[in-house]
Amino acid sequence: MTKTQQLHNYTLRQGDNCLILGQRLAEWCGHGPVLEQDIALTNISLDLIGQTRNYYQYAAQMNEEGKNEDDLAFLRDSLDYYNLLLVEQPNGDFAHTITRQYLFDVFHFHFLSQLCSSKDEQLSAIAHKSIKEVGYHRRWSSQWVLRLGDGTNESHSRMQVALDSLWKYAFEALEPDDLDLQMSEAGLGVDLDKIKKVCRQEVLDHLKKATLQIPQHGSGQVGGKTGKHTEHLGYILAEMQYMQRTYPGAKW
């Protein structure tokens, strides 16, 4: 793989995380538990989709087949998506959505704080832009983890169920694959070893504060970064890509 291809793929997969989670959150539109939180979920979705566009537009500039940002979003199959398994998990109840969001936000925030110093100017610019938004996401989701975890019996038990079911995907983001290592070595990507400890500690401390039990099973199921996904991704793509697949090249 050439250096440009590496940078292209690395850029693409940051965008994939944002797009898939953004799409998931958009499914809440009109279904939030209360109006304000419905708006919060879709605001976060909008931020993430905006970030996706920044990554995809940049990847498109490097794309050897001349694909544009829309092609990248609407005309790739699940094997060519490189997002984390965590972000493609279904919304479930509000507790599942909050837990998924919180686990991603903590990683995302620390990841971006490192990506800001990428030697690649555009990745650094995208990171500087995104981190301000993600700071708010992290604050919002961590407050909800506390409120629901240390809340009523019902909210507590739902949070525990959500945490138990999502835990296996909690730290895939922190497990480097070849591309992570190559990009970090080149000074373009993030050295995941640098953020591993701080992310884990932040999550463990916060969950404890929220009176939740840390599950005992593993938390680093991998696959997403190399295109091996859970069954859920195909359904998201089917819905998201329907229009472009049915009416190729449709515009409005």
């Binding site: 708006i39 909008l46 970030q51 500087h128 832009k129 301000k132 700071g135 708010y136 992290r138 919002w140």
Partner: protein
């Protein structure tokens, strides 16, 4: 009639007439979205930067600026969007802050975003109607990406707060 100018200050002054489509009391200049104006061989280049990555108003702002300058007789006009340096609420002018407040939106805190947000602290937001500091956040996210929802516990009015980023 086609007009030409090499005076970038004149263009900047004129752009005060282009308003933010979602907060129509605020010009794109007072918002700090217009970053740079350059005139090369009669062609006007306006560089803008988005407030939020996903701000849906950006395409409209770019189009509004272009249409406005073309409407004033300037041509050709090119709008360029850059991400760096990153937009911050510190770039909203004093005029802009006043316009926001008069419109019923509490202007962004002047304190640095980074520290408070990293520490996950709350900021004190004054009610834009009665100036009371006895206010409470209803939601971190409001009707647009750039605002949060608050309510005043003294005058009891709900209001928007322009988030500090």
């Amino acid at each position: 009639m086609k007009k030409t100018t090499d005076d970038t200050a004149e263009i900047l002054r004129l752009l005060h007439q282009v308003k933010d489509p979602e907060i129509p009391v605020l010009s794109v200049v007072d918002m700090g979205v217009v970053r740079h104006i350059e005139i090369r061989d009669g062609e006007i280049w306006v560089t803008i930067t988005p407030t939020y990555s996903g701000c849906p108003a950006m395409n409209t702002i770019a189009k509004d600026i272009e249409d406005f300058l073309l409407g004033q007789g300037f041509s050709p006009v090119t709008i360029k969007t850059v991400l760096s340096p990153t937009w911050t609420t510190d770039w909203i002018t004093e005029n802009g802050r006043k316009a926001l407040k008069d419109y019923g939106i509490a202007p962004p805190s002047k304190e640095s975003w980074d520290k408070k947000n990293i520490m996950l602290e709350e900021v004190v937001v004054k009610c834009p109607r009665c100036e009371s500091q006895n206010t409470q956040m209803t939601s971190e996210f409001g009707s647009t990406a750039c605002k949060a929802l608050y309510k005043c516990l003294d005058c009891l009015e709900p209001f928007d707060y322009f988030k500090c980023i």
